[in-house]
Amino acid sequence: MDAEAEGFAQFVEARQRALQRTAWLLTGDWAAAEDLVQTALVRSWPRWERIRRRDDPEIYVRRAMLNTWSSWRRRRWWGERPSETVPDAQAVGDMATEVTVRIAVQSVLKSLTARQRAVVVLRVFDDLSEAQVAHVLDCAIGTVKSTMAQAVARLREDPRLAGLMDREPQ
């Protein structure tokens, strides 16, 4: 294995978990999350040496991931609508609380626009700086700030989120 391939393999091994978790928050589905990460990596691999030299590889891969997610969304764009509820049933027993939180968070995220969802996930969950989020989303830092403010305002008004924040995270 040459140095480039080895570097790519190390990156995948080290970052696939974090990338998949971000992808899950965007898609709400593990199979789609895995597919999204794989697709972003497939697109990044042929340019890996250039990416590694010129850019922060993780930012580049995240950018590829967000663009891929947007294009998937775009293809199904007209079919997908922000929804107040998700059509899942709650589980019973020990997993009930965990599942309730998961369903509620998915539902709350789905109530945001795509840009708001992306900004919240990248800024809050992935802890990227505003400049990094702007780079990933290919927009101005001011846009990231205003989108984040709009998203937070929307989340504050959401009774489902208030209900969740009243309880301890599991």
């Binding site: 928050l25 795509a114 840009r115 992306a118 809050v124 969950f125 802890d127 937070v152």
Partner: protein, 234 residues
């Protein structure tokens, strides 16, 4: 990070859990190879098709007694009549009808290429056009504003289109609106609207492959040709 952000982060952390499977380099490599095989196969098929056409042409010229057709065939422009919306479309070169609407649009929402209420066409380079219509009491200016507002609300498009220009659609005055949506993508979406005898027509266009801005002029030109083929009922 403030208190709200921290709480939100904890919540996301609690919700997300662990991925059930790892993404491995081997899996990525397999997909890269599959992708290349598909690309190379497509290129090879195109090359073979060109070679076959060239050799057939050479063969035709080499046969001195081959009977020449009495008249050169004139391929007629296919004309589509919309079952639900009544307009006709003289399909420009490279365009074809994918599907007619299964039912009429009820005037609500902003249907798109995948909806059953639209006539869907596909043109050069994969650019799509879809048509839907419903009665309206609005004039053209108001109808254009409503169309943009509804599309913006439903599909996360900017509230103001990037361009808004006067055009003619099937002999009736119309507006052509260019926008990018969803907002964080480089997807060009064009909406052409007209109101004719109390019916609001919307003709949308996009290239689902998400072409780069450098390819937008070609997509725009193809859509203009498509629009030029539309005739509305008198």
């Amino acid at each position: 990070m403030n208190g709200m952000d921290r709480q939100l982060r904890d919540l996301l952390e609690a919700a997300v859990g662990e991925p059930p499977r790892q993404v491995t380099v081997a899996a990525v490599r397999r997909r890269v190879i599959r992708r290349r095989v598909v690309q190379y196969t497509a290129v090879a098929a195109a090359v073979i098709a060109v070679l076959v056409l060239v050799s057939l042409g050479t063969l035709g010229r080499a046969l001195p007694h081959a009977p020449a057709p009495a008249t050169r065939p004139h391929p007629e422009t296919p004309i589509i009549t919309s079952r639900h919306y009544g307009y006709t479309e003289a399909l420009p070169a490279g365009w074809r009808l994918v599907t007619q609407a299964k039912q009429q649009w009820d005037g609500n929402g902003a249907p798109g290429d995948g909806d059953s209420v639209v006539d869907l066409y596909v043109g050069p380079g994969g650019v799509e056009a879809w048509v839907y219509a419903a009665p309206t009491k609005e004039n053209l200016a108001a109808y254009a504003i409503t169309t943009v507002r509804v599309a913006g609300a439903v599909h996360d498009c900017p509230a103001v289109p990037q361009t808004n220009q006067a055009i003619t659609i099937g002999g009736a005055p119309g507006r052509l609106l260019d926008t990018q949506c969803p907002a964080l993508t480089s997807f060009l979406v064009e909406l052409a609207v007209t109101v004719h005898h109390g019916i609001g027509f919307v003709i949308g266009s996009q290239n689902p492959s998400g072409t780069a801005p450098g390819d937008w002029p070609a997509d725009r030109a193809a859509f203009r040709e498509f629009l030029a083929g539309i005739r509305l009922k008198r």
